[in-house]
Amino acid sequence: MNIIVCVKQVPASNETRLDPVTHTILRDGAAILNPFDAYAVEEALRLRERLGGEITALSMGVPAAQSMLRDVQALGVDRAVLLTDRAFAGSDTLATATALAAAVRHLGGAGLILCGRMASDGDTAQVGPMLATMLDLPCVTDVAAVEAITGHSARLLRLTDEGYQRVETVLPAVLTVVKEINVPRLPSVAGILRAEQLEVRRLTAAELGVDAAQVGLKGSATRVTATGRPPLRGQCRRLTGTLEDMARSVARALRGEEADSHD
């Protein structure tokens, strides 16, 4: 089964910086593979071991994202494709999904498309489901285990707020995965050396045949008009008084009773 795994380059640090004008994320610092996507790549490698076929890693990003794709190739992915073009700049989730969908069609489709649950920079978790919709494929989000899989169908466990949900789907389909699904491997010495010999194929909007008005800032349905800090929800209380008073306050708080105020 041929698998396409969608990956994104994200800032390495938690301290994401925003462009003061466009309010989009600045991508000039150190960058890494989106941590959630590492689980998607790992699952693709494990499925290939079971089912055979080829894995293509697909990304949209700045030319420098090529090094992230090379890192993914070092893990054992067969091919890497980078959608890179000024026309893609400033894409929101809709425009990103549009470009990725065009690329999937351009590559001739796949038996399975894997994505990470969401990216650690935007935290939207929208691209996977949008991609499925545009390709008219079933979508299963938050997959925590692939219990059984054939060329035509898969039985999956979804992680939900309440517990696990067992789902069966026909294939091809788009799956987004959570980190419970596996433990990603580290690349090997041989893998890194091999990846150096592999090409990262680059595709532009024109090569994909997408209308420039459908991607990038122009093709985006959303605009970030302002950014702000969410209000702090923590309720840190400082206890004072004697050791016994404080212990009693803690005990009351643990029992769910209103603690004495020693603030």
Partner: protein
């Protein structure tokens, strides 16, 4: 609160360290300044009360566990005092002895210092310091260790293979001597003349000390450092609070490497691992284009222990599954300047692995902090797991402690020692494992005694190894210090004559013999 408090049950946590050596004390003091240390020591001298220095209590040899008298706990002297850069561009950080390694690392990485009491020169120097541009290189596994404690046992870690142990990175220090006088020593400035050491005191006088006739071996060593013409600061390195109490240290910082890559190779047998290590060290074949910063070994039993622990400890589950059919693993760390420049080294490693029977396909490479964290977590998991098991076994018999050694020899004798460990561990009849700093010729055989008989048998094995190591000119403690637990091994290594000379050295600095009771030295017949 008075400076010297009586010991109470509420303070009993200060009676044992990470080695679980149970001590006892009548008094405890938490000084906040050099002057307060001096006050305590004068009081102790006046009342004949022995003194045991304590830092982070993370020692593995019982050095900080008091044997009567007063526990001098330095944990409240935890301030970073200043920063300077010398003409050559090297950064130096001045700290109090109770500062934790973790604190120093974080402050340097984030350029986050409490500077309200810094002098102007330090504040000015700080302006030029870029976050993370330099680091304090000694890396014992336990990062809550205090800097004073690290100095007093010359602590080291995986990266001391490239960067050296703590001793070499302490540029200057101040120490309070047992009578309350203070000496200030700087490396390269205050040196012995032959065996004669003149310690300059802050009141302008000097204290003359005659050093022992013998010199300690030129290998990584957590014990005394004794040489003719030695830097006097080194008298307080590895001497475990026997000569005085460190009150201030100036740390030499090292420029931070651009990148850290870790390579973990799984090998079919110990012979392959030893060949691989020889190649990494440049002893066999052409030297690697990049020199490793660390070389670590894990035997099959150590790897299994971690695998088993995964089932019980959720945090360990993020560790990658180990390949099948391996026998042991060797981890090497490198500091490439940029990824592409590291390819020749990877290529050379691939050739070496093939030659020694390893497999480049299942040799893991960590290329960024996130990936490396996993390998370091794995490394840390081994001693942590040992701790858990020892704690469990102690329920069978409270006498049981960690049975781990850190003996080292020179390059020429290492494989002989390694084969002796292999043989004796195979025959010991109790759970055991072998891991550690193979690059610096010292690995840690660990015996997980389940009862008193096994614990005693383990000790006898250690004594046999100590004699073996001593016969090859090695040390019984390369990184933990002798403390109380390894005192007997120290006596085997030193022999009565050198031991008598060490007592003579101590008598000159501590005539009332109050410092570090029960640490390192053993009585010898006059």
């Amino acid at each position: 609160m008075p400076l010297i408090e009586p010991m109470t049950p509420a303070l009993s946590g200060y009676l044992s360290d990470e080695s679980r050596t149970q001590g006892q004390a009548e008094y405890i003091a938490f000084p906040r300044s050099e002057e307060e240390i001096a006050q305590v020591l004068r009081w102790c001298a006046g009342h004949g009360v022995p003194v045991t220095a304590q830092g982070g209590m993370t020692g593995l040899a019982g050095g900080a566990s008091p044997q009567g008298g007063l526990a001098l706990n330095l944990s409240r002297m935890d301030r970073i005092l200043g920063l300077r850069r010398d003409g050559a561009g090297t950064w130096f950080l001045r700290v109090q002895p109770g500062v934790r390694l973790l604190q120093v690392r974080k402050a340097l990485k984030e350029k986050s210092f409490q500077i309200s009491q810094w002098d102007e020169a330090s504040v000015a120097a700080l302006r030029d310091f870029r976050p993370g541009e330099a680091f304090f290189s000694p890396d014992p596994t336990e990062t809550t260790a205090s800097i004073g404690g690290m100095a007093s046992c010359n602590a080291s870690g995986a990266r001391s293979y490239l960067y050296g142990a703590t001793r070499t990175k302490i540029h200057a220090l101040r120490a309070v001597l047992p009578d309350g006088s203070v000496t200030a020593l700087e490396r390269g400035v205050h040196r012995a003349r032959g065996r004669e050491a003149l310690l300059p005191l802050t009141d302008g006088s000097t204290r003359r000390v005659l050093l022992p006739e013998f010199e300690t071996p030129p290998i990584k060593d957590a014990g005394f450092y004794l040489r003719r013409d030695m830097d006097l600061a080194d008298l307080f390195m590895g001497s475990q609070g026997l000569f005085g109490i460190l009150s201030e240290l100036e740390l030499e910082l090292t420029p931070s490497p651009a990148l850290l890559w870790g390579v973990t190779a799984f090998l079919p047998d110990h012979a392959a691992a030893l060949r691989y290590v020889r190649a990494l060290k440049g002893q066999e074949g052409a030297p690697l284009p990049d020199r490793p910063a660390a070389i670590e070994f894990f035997d099959r039993r150590a790897l299994r222990l971690v695998e088993e622990q995964k089932a019980e400890t959720p945090a360990f589950r993020q560790l990658q599954e180990l390949p099948e059919d391996y026998n042991c693993a060797v981890y090497a760390e490198f500091n490439p300047r940029e990824p592409s420049l590291f390819l020749p080294t990877l290529s050379a490693l691939s050739d070496i692995l093939r030659r020694v029977g390893g497999d480049p396909e299942r040799t893991w490479v960590a290329r960024n902090e996130r990936e490396l964290e996993k390998l370091l977590f794995f490394r840390h998991t081994v001693p942590e797991t040992i701790d858990l098991i020892v704690e469990k076994n102690r329920k069978n018999d409270p006498c049981i402690t960690i049975l781990s050694t850190d003996m080292a020899v020179d390059d020429a004798h290492f494989e002989t020692l390694f084969h002796r460990y292999e043989r004796d561990l195979d025959a010991c009849g109790m759970p055991c494992l072998l891991f550690g700093h193979i690059g610096e010729n010292h690995v840690h055989p660990n015996l997980l005694a389940r009862n008193r008989e096994e614990w005693e048998r383990g000790h006898r094995l250690f004594e046999a190894w100590a004699a073996f190591v001593a016969s090859m000119g090695g040390t019984i403690t390369a990184e933990h210090g002798a403390g109380k637990i390894k005192r007997k091994l120290e006596a085997i290594m030193m022999g009565p004559e050198k031991m008598a000379q060490l007592w003579e050295l101590k008598r000159q600095l501590d005539p009332l013999n109050l410092m570090g009771p029960g640490n390192v030295l053993t009585e010898v017949e006059a």
